[in-house]
C-alpha cells in the first residue's frame, strides 16, 4: 500500500498507508474523521465533495474527492470546510452565506464555499471589471449542484463579498 503525506488545513498528516482504491473522500471522512466534506453523487457531478487544493505557485483550485484516489493527494496542501474559519471567526464568505440564508439542507455548502473562496482568491490576484462580476460568479459556481435550489442565494452571497471590497476584487 502506498503511504501518503499531506497538509490539511495547515496541519501535516502522514505518512499514512492507504489502499490504492481508497477515494480521497473516504480518506477524509473515514480515516481522518473530517466529515465536513460530503459524499454526494459519487461521480464528480455535484461537487459537494470538493476541497481546495493550494498549489506551490500560490494559486488555489477546487478538486472533487469522490472520484480521485487518496494517493493522488500525496504531498498536496488542501483545505476542507473545517479549515475556513480561524479561531472561531468565520470568513467573510461564510458570514455572507449565513446572511443570505444561502443554504437550506447544507449538504452542498462545503463545495459551494470552497468554490466561492477559490474565486475570491483568484480575483485578488486578477481583479475583474464590475461588468464581469455576474458572469464570473455564474461560471465559477456552474459545476455545483444544490438540490434545494439555492443557486441565486449562493450567487448573491458571493457577489456581496466581492462588491463589499471593490479595491481587492475589482479593477
Amino acid at each position: 500500500m502506498p503511504a501518503i503525506s499531506l497538509t490539511i488545513n495547515g496541519r501535516p498528516h502522514g505518512p499514512i498507508e492507504v489502499r490504492e482504491d481508497l477515494s480521497m473522500n473516504d480518506f477524509l471522512r473515514e480515516v481522518l474523521g473530517l466529515t465536513g466534506t460530503k459524499f454526494g453523487c459519487g461521480a464528480a457531478q455535484c461537487l459537494s465533495c470538493a476541497v481546495i487544493v493550494d498549489a506551490a505557485d500560490g494559486t488555489s483550485a477546487t478538486m472533487p474527492t469522490c472520484v480521485v484516489a487518496a494517493a493522488d493527494f500525496d504531498r498536496k496542501k488542501i483545505r476542507t470546510i473545517e479549515g475556513h474559519a480561524r479561531d472561531g471567526v468565520l470568513t467573510p464568505l461564510q458570514t455572507s452565506f449565513i446572511t443570505h440564508f444561502a443554504f437550506q439542507c447544507g449538504y452542498c455548502t462545503p463545495g459551494f464555499l470552497a468554490e466561492g473562496q477559490v474565486l475570491l482568491e483568484r480575483l485578488e490576484k486578477a481583479p475583474i471589471a464590475r461588468a464581469e462580476v455576474e458572469r464570473t460568479i455564474t461560471e465559477a459556481l456552474d459545476g455545483h449542484l444544490c438540490r434545494c435550489s439555492g443557486y441565486v442565494k449562493y450567487h448573491e452571497a458571493v457577489r456581496d463579498v466581492i462588491l463589499a471590497d471593490p479595491k481587492r476584487y475589482l479593477t
Binding site: G42, Q45, P64, C66
Partner: protein, 205 residues
C-alpha cells in the same frame, strides 16, 4: 426444489449482476471489435482503392466513441459508449483542458481510478476544435486529417506516430470502467495508418 426454468433465470440474473458489478468496478471492458490487418486487403488490385480501403478500416477506430467523445463537434466533450453530453457540464476552455473553474485534471488524474469509474491520463484534454470528428463520415475525417491546419499541424507521416504511439490516444484501447475499447489494438491501428500513408493516403469515396 427450484424448477429448472426458474433456476436458469436466477443463475442468469446472478451472472448479469456479477458482470455488471465487475464492469462498474472497472475490472474489465467489453471486448473490442476486430480490426482487419493491411494484408487482408491484398485482393484489391487498384492502388487508390487499396489505400482508401486501409483508411475505411482505420475509420472504425476514428469514429469510435473512445475517439469522438474527445473530438467533439462543439465545446463540450461527450462520454460513455452512448456519447452522452459530459456530466458535469464541462467545456473546452482556452487550452482544451477546461474552464478555469472546472479543469479536466480536477477529476481526470494520472491514470484510471476504477473504483469511481473515472478515466485518467497525465495529458487528459479535448482535441483542438479544428480537429472535431464527431458526426463526420470517414471521407470527411480523411480529408480533414490530411490537412495540417485541421490535424494539429501534422504531416500525414506524423499521423503514424500520433495514432500508433501517443499514450493518450492509446488510452482508447484500455479505457477501463466498462467502456468498450476502440476496435483492434493500437499496434493494429498503427499498421493501418502506415499502410494508408505509404500507399498514397487516398480517401474513401
Amino acid at each position: 426444489m427450484i424448477p429448472h426454468r426458474r433456476l436458469f433465470t436466477l443463475l442468469a440474473a446472478a451472472a448479469v449482476g456479477l458482470l455488471s458489478a465487475a464492469l462498474a468496478r472497472g475490472e474489465g471492458s467489453p471486448p473490442a471489435a476486430p480490426l482487419a490487418p493491411p494484408a487482408s486487403f491484398s485482393a484489391i488490385a487498384d492502388p487508390a482503392e487499396l489505400s482508401a480501403a486501409y483508411f475505411a478500416e482505420l475509420s472504425k477506430v476514428l469514429t469510435s466513441p473512445r475517439c469522438t467523445n474527445c473530438h467533439p463537434a462543439g465545446d463540450r466533450p461527450r462520454q460513455g459508449d452512448a456519447a452522452r453530453p459530459h456530466q458535469p457540464p464541462v467545456f473546452r476552455g482556452p487550452d482544451g483542458k477546461g474552464l478555469t473553474s472546472l479543469r479536466c485534471a480536477m477529476c481526470h488524474r494520472e491514470a484510471n481510478f476504477d473504483p469511481a469509474g473515472m478515466p485518467g491520463h497525465p495529458h487528459w484534454q479535448l482535441a483542438p476544435a479544428e480537429m472535431a470528428w464527431e458526426g463526420k463520415t470517414p471521407r470527411e475525417i480523411c480529408i480533414q486529417i490530411k490537412e495540417p491546419a485541421r490535424n494539429g499541424g501534422r504531416s500525414v507521416e506524423d499521423l503514424i506516430a500520433h495514432i500508433g504511439d501517443d499514450t493518450l490516444v492509446g488510452w482508447a484501447w484500455a479505457p477501463g470502467g466498462g467502456r468498450t475499447p476502440a476496435p483492434g489494438t493500437q499496434a493494429e491501428a498503427k499498421a493501418l495508418v502506415r499502410a494508408w500513408v505509404e500507399s498514397g493516403a487516398v480517401c474513401p469515396k
